[in-house]
C-alpha cells in the first residue's frame, strides 16, 4: 500500500514477543513498512527521536508505560496519526479509559487481516 509514492508506515507497540512478530508480519503482508516497540515508553521515544508513522497499533496493558499513558503522551505532543488500540479485554471501564486517552478505534485481540483492512480503509478516508 502506498501513500503518494511511499509505503504506508505503522508502529506495533506490544510487550509480548509473539504478538509483535505476528502483527508485524501481518502488516508487512499488506505492504506496510513497520517498526516495533516493546512498551509505551519505547514508542514515545521513537516519536521524540523524530520518527513518524501513519498509524500505531497500541497494546493496552504493558509494563514501564501502558497504552493509555502512551496514547495521552503522544496526543499531548501533538501526534495526530491514527492510534489503534488492541486489548485482550472486552468492553468495560479499562477499554473506555483507553479510548478516552485519544484512540481512533479499539479492537479486541487478535489483530487479523479483516481488522487491518478496516484500519486501512479508515486511514484512506482520513487522508482523502
Amino acid at each position: 500500500m502506498k501513500k503518494g509514492g511511499r509505503k504506508i508506515s505503522a508502529l506495533v507497540v506490544d510487550d509480548d514477543r509473539v504478538i509483535r512478530v505476528v502483527e508485524e508480519k501481518l502488516l508487512v503482508r499488506f505492504g506496510l513498512e513497520t517498526k516495533v516497540a516493546k512498551n509505551g515508553k519505547e514508542a514515545l521515544d521513537l516519536f521524540v527521536a523524530g520518527n513518524t508513522f501513519d498509524f500505531v497499533v497500541m497494546d493496552m496493558e504493558m509494563p514501564v508505560m501502558d497504552g493509555p499513558e502512551a496514547t495521552r503522551a503522544l496526543r499531548a505532543r501533538g501526534v495526530d496519526c491514527m492510534i489503534v488500540g488492541v486489548t485482550s479485554r472486552g468492553d468495560g471501564p479499562e477499554k473506555a479509559e483507553f479510548e478516552a486517552a485519544g484512540l481512533n478505534c479499539c479492537w479486541e485481540k487478535p489483530l487479523n487481516a479483516q481488522i487491518v483492512g478496516t484500519i486501512l480503509d479508515k486511514l484512506a478516508k482520513k487522508l482523502s
Binding site: D14, D15, D16, R17, V18, I19, V21, V22, E23, K25, L26, R29, D59, E61, P63, S88, K109, P110, L111, N112, A113
Partner: protein
C-alpha cells in the same frame, strides 16, 4: 520409493487440524497464521509457535511460583502474566488456552486462590495437549516437505537416470 505419499501426509495434516478445530483447541486465527507463511518465510508458523511455547513456559513457571507462595500471592503480577499469555494465545489461535486464561484472570481479580489453583492445573493440561498436537502437526508437515522433495527431484537426476 519411500512409501511416503504427499497426498496422504497432507490429508493427515488436514485431519489433525480438523480435530483441533472441532475440539475448539484452535480457532480461525491459526488459519490466518498459515496464510502469512510464504516463500519469504516458509517456516513462519512453526517459528512463531516455537516462540510462543518458549514464552508461555516462562509465564506458566512464573504463575506456578506466584501461587505456591501461600502467604502472599501477588494477584496483580499474576494478572500481568495472564494478560500476556491470553494475548499471545489468541494471536496464534490457541482458543481453549485463551479461554482458560480468561477464567484464571477472573479468579485472580477476586483473589480466589483455590479458583486460581484449579485454573492453573487446567492451563498446564491444555498447554501440554496443544504442544503435543502442534509438534505432531509440524512433524507431519516436515515429512510432507521431504516427500515432496523426493517426488520432484532436482533436474540433473533425470539426465543421469532416464528411468527415474
Amino acid at each position: 520409493m519411500l512409501g511416503l505419499s504427499v497426498e496422504q501426509l497432507r490429508a493427515d495434516m488436514n485431519r489433525l487440524l480438523a480435530i483441533l478445530f472441532h475440539q475448539g483447541v484452535l480457532d480461525e486465527q491459526f488459519l490466518q497464521l498459515q496464510q502469512l507463511q510464504d516463500e519469504s518465510s516458509p517456516n513462519f508458523v512453526s517459528e512463531v509457535v516455537t516462540i510462543y511455547f518458549h514464552e508461555s513456559e516462562k509465564l506458566l513457571r512464573n504463575l506456578r511460583a506466584l501461587l505456591v507462595d501461600k502467604e502472599l500471592s501477588d494477584y496483580k503480577k499474576m494478572g500481568i502474566h495472564l494478560n500476556q499469555l491470553m494475548g499471545s494465545s489468541s494471536s496464534i489461535g490457541a482458543q481453549r488456552l485463551r479461554n482458560v486464561c480468561a477464567a484464571f484472570r477472573a479468579a485472580s481479580e477476586l483473589n480466589n486462590r483455590p479458583g486460581c489453583l484449579r485454573a492453573l492445573e487446567l492451563l498446564e493440561y491444555e498447554y501440554c495437549y496443544l504442544k503435543n498436537k502442534l509438534h505432531e502437526f509440524f512433524q507431519i508437515e516436515q515429512q510432507r516437505m521431504l516427500a515432496a522433495a523426493v517426488r520432484y527431484p532436482a533436474p540433473q537426476q533425470h539426465r543421469n537416470n532416464p528411468q527415474g
